[in-house]
C-alpha cells in the first residue's frame, strides 16, 4: 500500500501496461520530455525511450488520426488531449472516424486506443479550459467513457482501458490531480462498465462523477447529522453504464439525485434520469433531481466559479429540501 497522487497514478497505470505490452505507445503535446503539463506522464520517457513516448506538435487532429491509424494496424496507442475542451478541435476524428469505422467496415478494423484528457473545472482556468465533456462522448455510439475519482481507480481503469480493444475516452479530473489516495502495490486492473457504491444508505441515492464524488460524500456526511442516510454511487463509467447498480439503489431508496459538473442541458445525469423514469418509475418516491452547474460558460473568477459549480453544501441542501417536501 502507498499514498499516491491522482496524477502519479496516471503515470503508474500507463507504465504498468507499457511494461507488459510493447505495442503500447504514448503520444501527445509535452508528454515526453516535460512529463506532461499536468505531470501525468512523468518518468515514462526515461523508462521507455523516445520511440514509445512521443512529443507532438500542437495538432490535435493529427495526433488522434495517428493514434487511430496506428491502432488499426497493430499498435495500442495512448494519446493525450491536453485539456478536454480541445476535443472540439479534433472532434471529427473522434466521432466520425474513431467511433464509427469499426461499424462501417463490418468489424474489419479494431481500434484498441485510449484518449486521456484533462477534464473538468474548479481551477479558475476560464471557460475554454474548464469544461466537463464526458457527456459529449457519451452521446456517440462507439466510444467508451470512464472518469475515475480516486488514485486507485485511475491505475485500475487506465489498465482496463488500455487492455480493452475498443476506443476509450479516459477523463482525468484536473481538480483531482493533487488528491492523494491509498493504492495497493502490484498490478491493478479494474473493469470498465462498473459503478461503485462509495457510501451505502437508505434514504436517497446520489450519483456523482469525478470531482463531484468527494463533494457528494461530504454532503452525505453532513446529511447524516440531520438524520438523512444517503447512498453515494461513484458512476465511474458512462459507457458502458452500470445501470444495474443504479436501478438496484433506486429500488431501495426511492429517491435519485445526480451531481453533475456539466452545464445543465444534456449532462450525463439527464440520460440516467430518463432511464430511471422509464424503468424504475414505480420505485420513485419523488421527482429525480439533477444538481448541475447552470447553463452558462464557466466564469474564471474563483468566487464565481465556486458559486456556480455544485458544492457539498448545495448538494446537501437540495437533498434535504427534497426529502422534506
Amino acid at each position: 500500500m502507498a499514498q499516491l497522487s491522482y496524477r502519479d497514478a496516471v503515470a503508474r497505470g500507463i507504465a504498468q501496461e507499457m511494461r507488459r505490452d510493447e505495442r503500447v505507445v504514448v503520444v501527445g503535446e509535452d508528454i515526453a520530455g516535460a512529463g506532461g503539463v499536468f505531470k501525468t506522464t512523468v518518468g515514462l520517457l526515461d523508462e521507455f525511450g523516445p520511440k514509445r513516448v512521443i512529443d507532438t506538435p500542437i495538432s490535435e487532429q493529427a495526433i488522434l488520426g495517428a493514434a487511430m491509424g496506428a491502432a488499426m494496424t497493430g499498435l495500442r496507442p495512448v494519446a493525450e488531449i491536453m485539456f478536454s475542451d480541445f476535443f472540439a478541435v479534433c472532434w471529427d476524428i473522434v466521432v466520425n472516424q474513431i467511433a464509427k469505422t469499426r461499424y462501417m467496415t463490418a468489424g474489419q478494423v479494431t481500434m484498441p486506443l485510449v484518449i486521456k484528457t484533462g477534464n473538468g473545472g474548479g481551477l479558475r482556468f476560464g471557460a475554454q479550459h474548464s469544461q466537463s465533456i464526458e457527456n459529449w462522448a457519451m452521446a456517440i455510439p462507439g466510444l467508451k467513457v470512464v472518469t475515475p475519482s480516486t488514485a486507485e481507480d485511475v491505475v485500475g481503469l487506465m489498465a482496463a482501458a488500455i487492455r480493452d480493444d475498443d476506443p476509450v475516452i479516459f477523463c482525468e479530473h484536473k481538480g483531482l490531480y493533487a488528491a492523494k489516495g491509498e493504492v495497493p502495490d502490484g498490478e491493478i486492473v479494474d473493469t470498465l462498465g462498473t459503478a461503485k457504491v462509495r457510501r451505502p444508505g437508505r434514504d436517497a441515492t446520489i450519483l456523482a462523477l469525478g470531482m463531484m464524488v468527494p463533494r457528494a460524500l461530504a454532503a452525505a456526511e453532513d446529511l447524516a447529522t440531520r438524520g438523512i442516510d444517503a447512498e453515494v454511487i461513484d458512476v465511474r463509467s458512462l459507457v458502458p453504464l452500470d445501470t444495474r447498480t443504479i436501478l438496484d439503489s433506486v429500488a431501495r431508496t426511492g429517491r435519485l439525485f445526480t451531481v453533475e459538473e456539466n452545464p445543465q442541458l444534456l449532462g450525463w445525469g439527464a440520460e440516467i434520469a430518463s432511464l430511471v423514469a422509464d424503468e424504475a418509475f414505480w420505485d420513485l418516491d419523488g421527482p429525480v433531481q439533477r444538481i448541475t452547474t447552470p447553463h452558462i460558460p464557466l466564469p474564471s473568477a474563483d468566487s464565481l466559479e465556486d458559486l456556480v459549480m455544485p458544492s457539498a453544501e448545495s448538494v446537501a441542501r437540495t437533498v434535504e429540501k427534497a426529502l422534506q417536501s
Binding site: 426511492g254 418509475f281 418516491d285 447552470p294 458559486l307 437540495t318 422534506q324 417536501s325
Partner: protein
Amino acid sequence: MSVPPSLAPFLPGGRPAPRASGGHRPRQVHSPRVRRLAHDRGVHLGGLTGTGPRGRVTTDDVDRAASMAESLPLATPVAAPGTVRARHTAVTEVEVTRLTTSPDLLAWLVESSVRTVRSVRAATAEVVPTTVSVHGPPGGAPRTVVNAHDLGVQGIERVLGAADTPLNGSEGRASRPELSVHDLRGTGVLFDVPVLEDGVVVAISFGDVVDRPTVVELPDGGRGIGIGSFVHLALTVDEHLAGASAARLLARVRQRLEAHESGSSS
C-alpha cells in the same frame, strides 16, 4: 458571497418557481412508489391520513395500513369443528363509477374477490390455486375461471368472454371452486343473500348498478354534487373454513375495488 434570491433557482440544486396555477390544483398526490405499494398490499389510499411532509402519504403509512387490515380481529368467533357451521352474510355499498365500462364490473369484482381470498388464505393456510365459478348474467350458463390468481383483470375479462370457457365441473385440471361470484345485474335486485354450493367457501353477489348524486371534489379544491355509479355487494362465507369473518372479507373486497376506482392501483 451573498446571493440575491432571484438567482437561487439557477444555482446548483435550485428549482424553477412553481407555475401559477392556471386551473387545476391536484388532489393529494401519491408518489409512484406509494401507489405501487398500495396496489400490491390492497390498501385504499383515499382513506389514509398521511404522516409525510404536508400530509403526504408515505410508504410507512401504507405499510401500517396494510398490516392493520391484515390483523383485524375476527368479527365472530370461529366455531369449533363438529359444531354447527357458522355461515354469515355481510352487505355493503361501493362506488364503481369508473369500473363499469372496460373491463366490465364483473371482471373487476372477480379480481378483487380472488385477491382478497388469496391474501386471507395466505395468512391462515397453505395457498391453493384459486378457481372461481361465475354465475350470471342470469340466463347464461355458469362459467369457471381456473388459476384466476394468475390473471389480471384484463385476463379475467378475456376468459369470461371466451366461448370456450369451461362450464362448471368440465375442466378436469381445476380444483373445485372455493369462490363463487353472482352477477344479478338486470334482475332489478340490489343484492341477494348468496348461497354456498358444494365446496364453495366464499360467495359474493352484486345487483343493479344505480346512478345517484354523490359528493365530488371540484377542480378548485372545493366540494360539489356529481353523479356516481353505486353497487351493493353481499358476501356469504363459511367462517370456520375460511378462517375469517364476512365483515372482514367484505371490507377487503371493497377496499380493493375502491383502490381500482380511484386509480391508485396500476
